[in-house]
C-alpha cells in the first residue's frame, strides 16, 4: 500500500519533471533562436544610435577605487584622470608640468618652502559645488597626518611625513582663489607630484563629507571633462560627458566613455577585432601583428619604465661580491634576450631612466656580453648555483611577465656552468617575497609616477627592502640622492643624476634589461587618442567617427 502511494507520487513527480524539462527546453530554444536572429539587427541598432557616440576602452582589471586618495594602480588612474583634475597636470605627450585648476605655475619662495598657488575661477564640481581654496584645503588635508590612514597608498609619497621631516606642513586658504602650502623641507619633485593622477587631484568637498570617514568616496565627483555614471564591479565603468566643463576649448567630444574590464590578453584582442572595444590596453608584443593585420591601429610609444634584474647585495650572499655580479651580467646576452621576448616593442636599457627622460644618460657604459670571461670568473669564484625569484604576472614594464626572463637567464647561465633555481609567484605575493625570500637574483621594474629623475634613481637608495630589492646600501650613492632632491632642476641637478647612473653601471647592483613601449590597439575610427607616458589616457579631445 505504502509502495503504491509512493509510486503514485513519484510518477506525478516524473510527470512534473518532464513537463518542466520540456518547458525550459522550449524556452531555451525560443530564447536562443530569438537571440540569434535578433543579433544582426541588434548589432546595427547598437552602433546606429546608442553606441555611436561612445568609446569603449578595455582595462585589464577592476579599478581599486575611484577616489584619488585611495588608489595606486594604473586602472584606477586611467578612469579617474577623466573625472578629476589636479591643480597641475602634465603636458599632452610628456611629463612637463602645466597649470590645470591653478591659473599658472606656483610662486615658490627662494628657500623652496612656500608655494603660493592662484586658482581658476568659475569652476564647478559635477555636483554643482564651487571649486575654491577651501575645496583644495579639504582635499589635501584628508591626506595629511593625523587624518591620513593606511589605505591611502600615495599619501606619504606625495605629502611627506612628520617623522621624516619631509613634505607638506600646512595648507592655508589665503582667500577664495589663493592657496598657500608650507613645506617642511625643500623638494624639487613636489610640483611634479601635484600633477600626478594619484593622491593630488581635487575632489568635491561635498562628496568627501558624504563618504564615511576613512574610506573612499562612493560617488566619484571632480571637475573633469567626464562625469561618473556607473561602475558594475568586474564588468565596466561608464562615464558621461560633462556639458559644463570649464575649459570650452577642450570640451569632451564623445558622449560616453566606457571602460570594460577584460583580464585575458587574447580576449582583449578578440574584443577589438570583433568591434566590442574601440581601444584595448596592454597588448602583448607577440599579438601586435594581429592588430595591424586586422586593419586596426597600433599605439606604440616609449613608456616611462625600467625593467631590470637585481642582485641581492646582502652581506654574506654570493652576489655581495661586485666581481660575481659583473660576471653574471657578462654571461647574459641582454640584446638577444630583449629581442626574443619583446621583439621591436622594447629597447635595450642602457640607463636606469629611459633616454627620452634623461638624454644625458646615453654615454653611460654598461657591462658587455662576454660568456667566456664570465665562465672563467664564475669558476674561479666557485659559483655553481643561484636562487632566483620572479613574478608570473604581466607588468607595465614587462608585458610578458617575469617568467620568460627568468627562464632565459636560466638558459644563459647554464651555458657558463651555473644552475639557476627559479621560484615564481604572482605579482602581489611576489611583492612580499622580495622582502623575505633568500634569493641571489630577482626580477623587478618600475613605472615612473611623475617624470622626475628622483622617482627612478631613488630606488636603489631606498631603505624599504621591497623598493630596493638589491638591498644595496651605498653611502656615497645615498648622499648623491639626498643632494639631488634638494637641488632645483637644471644642469647642476642633471650632473648629479648622471653620476648616479654611472655608479649604478659600475657597481652593478642591477642588470638593466629594457625600456618597454606602451602598446595599445585601437580602431581607426577613434581620433585624437594618446596614451600618456605616466600610464593614463585623457579622453577630453578624443572622438569617434560613426
Amino acid at each position: 500500500m505504502e509502495e503504491n502511494k509512493l509510486k503514485f507520487s513519484r510518477r506525478q513527480f516524473m510527470g512534473l519533471l518532464g513537463t518542466a524539462v520540456a518547458g525550459t527546453a522550449m524556452m531555451g530554444m525560443v530564447g536562443c533562436s530569438g537571440g540569434g536572429s535578433e543579433k544582426k539587427g541588434d548589432g546595427k541598432a547598437a552602433s546606429g544610435d546608442k553606441a555611436a557616440d561612445s568609446i569603449t576602452y578595455s582595462l585589464t582589471a577592476d579599478p581599486r577605487a575611484l577616489d584619488p586618495a585611495y588608489f595606486d594602480d594604473g586602472e584606477s588612474a586611467v578612469v579617474s584622470c577623466n573625472i578629476y583634475e589636479g591643480l597641475y597636470g602634465f603636458a599632452e605627450k610628456n611629463a612637463e608640468v602645466k597649470p590645470l585648476l591653478a591659473t599658472e605655475l606656483p610662486e615658490i619662495s627662494d628657500d623652496g618652502l612656500t608655494y603660493t598657488i592662484k586658482l581658476r575661477e568659475g569652476v564647478k564640481f559635477h555636483d554643482g559645488t564651487d571649486f575654491n581654496a577651501d575645496a583644495v584645503k579639504t582635499s589635501i588635508e584628508r591626506l595629511l597626518e593625523p587624518n591620513r590612514n593606511s589605505d591611502q597608498p600615495y599619501a606619504s609619497f606625495v605629502f611627506g611625513e612628520e617623522a621624516a621631516n619631509s613634505g607638506v606642513k600646512t595648507v592655508e586658504a589665503v582667500d577664495a582663489t589663493t592657496v598657500k602650502i608650507t613645506m617642511r623641507a625643500a623638494n624639487t619633485s613636489f610640483l611634479k607630484n601635484l600633477a600626478m593622477a594619484l593622491a593630488s587631484p581635487i575632489v568635491s568637498p561635498k562628496a568627501i563629507e558624504a563618504a564615511s570617514a576613512g574610506s573612499a568616496i562612493t560617488t566619484p565627483c571632480g571637475t573633469g571633462p567626464y562625469k561618473f555614471v556607473d561602475w558594475t564591479k568586474s564588468a565596466s565603468v561608464t562615464l558621461e560627458a560633462n556639458e559644463d566643463y570649464w575649459d570650452k576649448d577642450n570640451a569632451p567630444k564623445t558622449k560616453n566613455i566606457i571602460f570594460k574590464i577584460i583580464a585575458e590578453g587574447n580576449t582583449r584582442i578578440t574584443s577589438l577585432l570583433n568591434g566590442e572595444c574601440d581601444i584595448i590596453s596592454s597588448v602583448d608584443p607577440s599579438s601586435a601583428n594581429q592588430i595591424t593585420d586586422g586593419g586596426y591601429e597600433l599605439f606604440s610609444e616609449d613608456g616611462m619604465t625600467i625593467n631590470y634584474m637585481a642582485f641581492n647585495t646582502d652581506e654574506g650572499g654570493i652576489c655581495a661580491d661586485k666581481e660575481v655580479r659583473k660576471a653574471i651580467a657578462q654571461a647574459i646576452n641582454v640584446e638577444e634576450m630583449v629581442s626574443a621576448i619583446y621583439g621591436e616593442y622594447a629597447s635595450v636599457a642602457n640607463s636606469v631612466m629611459p633616454l627620452w627622460m634623461a638624454p644625458y644618460d646615453k654615454d653611460v657604459k654598461q657591462t658587455a656580453y662576454d660568456p667566456d670571461a664570465a665562465k672563467a670568473t664564475l669558476a674561479a669564484k666557485g659559483v655553481t648555483k643561484l636562487a632566483c625569484i620572479t613574478y608570473s604576472t604581466a607588468r607595465p614594464y614587462n608585458a610578458k611577465g617575469g617568467v620568460e626572463l627568468a627562464n632565459m637567464v636560466q638558459g644563459y647561465l647554464s651555458k657558463v656552468g651555473v644552475d639557476v633555481e627559479i621560484t615564481q609567484y604572482d605579482w602581489t605575493t611576489y611583492k612580499s617575497k622580495v622582502q623575505t625570500d633568500p634569493y641571489d637574483i630577482c626580477f623587478y621594474g618600475w613605472t615612473g609616477d611623475n617624470g622626475d629623475p628622483d622617482n627612478f634613481m631613488n630606488l636603489p637608495a631606498d631603505s624599504n627592502r621591497s623598493m630596493n630589492v638589491a638591498h644595496w646600501d651605498n653611502e656615497e650613492y645615498k648622499a648623491l640622492i639626498a643632494k639631488g632632491i634638494a637641488t632645483p632642476d637644471g644642469d647642476e641637478r642633471d650632473a648629479i643624476y648622471k653620476q648616479c647612473e654611472e655608479m649604478m653601471a659600475e657597481e652593478q647592483p642591477w642588470l638593466l634589461i629594457s625600456h618597454s613601449k606602451n602598446l595599445l590597439g585601437y580602431s581607426p575610427k577613434v581620433k585624437g587618442f594618446y596614451y600618456h607616458p605616466t600610464g593614463v589616457a585623457f579622453f577630453k579631445g578624443v572622438s569617434k567617427e560613426a
Binding site: E264, G265, N266, I269, D284, S286, S287, N289, Q290, N333, E336, M337, A340, I341, S392, K400, V403, E404, A406, N407, M408, Q410, G411, Y412, S414, I422, T423, Q424, D426, T429
Partner: protein
C-alpha cells in the same frame, strides 16, 4: 526474492553461470576477466589501452634515456625562437627556442603521475569512507557524509588554489590538493550504491550465515559497486589531468623548466595569434590522453555489463 534469483542476479552481473557464483574468489577473477574481454572486444577501448601503454612507455623511456628525444627539451636556443612546425621541429618551437615535440613527449611523465597518484589518493580514501558510511549507517554515515559535504561545499579548484596559495607551488602539492578534493565524489557514489543494494536478500543472507561486517562489505557489497567505481575512476583520472591543466593555466603549475601540458598550454595562450601551435599541441595531448582514459573506461564498463555488449 528467493535465494535462486539472488544467484541469477549475480550471474547477470558477473556472467558466471555455475552455482558457486557467490564465491568471492571466482567472482573477482571473473570481473577482471570481463574487464579484459571488454577491452579486447571494443575496438576504441583497445586502441585507447594501446595508446595509454604507449604513453606510459614514452614516460618511462624518456625518463631513463633522455637522449632518445630529438632535442633536449630544456635547452634554450634563442636563434630558433618561435618557429612554426617543420621537418626539423614537428610541433614547432617555443619562445625559448625549445622543441615542442620533445617537451610534449617529456610531459607524459608529469601528466600520468599526476593523474594516477591523485586518483589513487581519492579512490582509496573515498571508497573506504563511502563503504563505511553506506554500510554502517547511523552516526558513521552522518559524520562521514557531513565531512564530505563540507569538502564538497567548496569548489574543488578554489580549494586547491587556496591550499597551493598557502603552501606554495609544486607538483606534489598539486597532486595532494587534486586528490583530496575528489574524495567526496567517490564516497558519495559508493555510499549510494551500497544503500541501494545492502538491503538485498543475499546480503541479508550473508548476515544470517554469520559473515563479519568487514567480510560482507568486501565480498558482497563492494564487488557489486565495482562497475560504478571503475567508471568513476576512469573519469577521475581525466578530471585529475584536467584539474592539473587548470592549475597550470592559472599559473600555479610546475616549476620551470619542467614540461607539463597544462602549463605549456597556459603560457602558449599568450602567443595564440602569433604561434597557435604552442597552444594546440599541448591541448591536443591533454584531450587525447583524457579521451583515451574515457574510452578505456567505456570498454571496461561494457565488459562488466555483458547484456549491453555488442555480440
Amino acid at each position: 526474492m528467493s535465494k535462486k534469483t539472488v544467484l541469477a542476479t549475480q550471474g547477470a552481473a558477473g556472467e558466471v553461470t555455475n552455482s558457486q557464483a557467490q564465491q568471492p574468489v571466482e567472482k573477482r577473477e571473473s570481473i577482471w576477466k570481463d574487464v579484459l574481454d571488454g577491452i579486447v572486444s571494443n575496438k576504441a577501448a583497445l586502441v585507447s589501452a594501446i595508446f595509454i601503454l604507449l604513453l606510459a612507455l614514452i614516460a618511462i623511456v624518456t625518463k631513463l634515456v633522455p637522449g632518445i628525444l630529438p632535442y633536449d627539451p630544456y635547452e634554450q636556443n634563442l636563434a630558433e625562437s618561435v618557429q612554426g612546425p617543420s621537418a626539423a621541429h614537428w610541433f614547432g618551437t617555443d619562445i625559448q627556442g625549445r622543441d615542442i615535440f620533445s617537451r610534449v613527449l617529456v610531459g607524459t611523465q608529469i601528466t600520468l603521475v599526476v593523474g594516477l597518484a591523485a586518483v589513487a589518493i581519492s579512490l582509496t580514501v573515498g571508497v573506504l569512507l563511502g563503504a563505511i558510511a553506506g554500510y554502517k549507517g547511523g552516526k558513521w554515515d552522518t559524520v562521514i557524509m557531513r565531512i564530505m559535504d563540507m569538502m564538497l561545499a567548496i569548489p574543488s579548484i578554489l580549494l586547491a588554489i587556496a591550499i597551493m596559495a598557502a603552501l606554495g607551488q609544486g607538483i606534489e602539492k598539486a597532486v595532494v590538493a587534486i586528490g583530496l578534493v575528489a574524495i567526496p565524489e567517490y564516497a558519495r557514489i559508493v555510499r549510494s550504491e551500497i544503500l541501494a543494494i545492502k538491503e538485498n536478500d543475499y546480503v541479508a543472507a550473508a548476515r544470517v550465515i554469520g559473515d563479519s561486517n568487514f567480510a560482507i562489505v568486501f565480498r558482497h557489497v563492494l564487488p557489486n559497486a565495482l562497475p560504478s567505481i571503475i567508471v568513476r575512476a576512469t573519469l577521475g583520472i581525466s578530471s585529475a589531468i584536467l584539474d592539473c591543466a587548470a592549475l597550470g593555466f592559472l599559473g600555479l603549475g610546475v616549476q620551470p623548466p619542467d614540461a607539463e601540458w597544462g602549463d605549456m598550454l597556459g603560457r602558449g595562450r599568450n602567443e595564440l595569434f602569433r604561434a597557435p601551435w604552442l597552444m594546440i599541441f599541448p591541448g591536443l595531448a591533454i584531450t587525447l590522453t583524457v579521451l583515451a582514459f574515457n574510452l578505456l573506461g567505456d570498454g571496461i564498463r561494457d565488459g562488466l555489463d555483458p547484456k549491453s555488449r555488442k555480440r
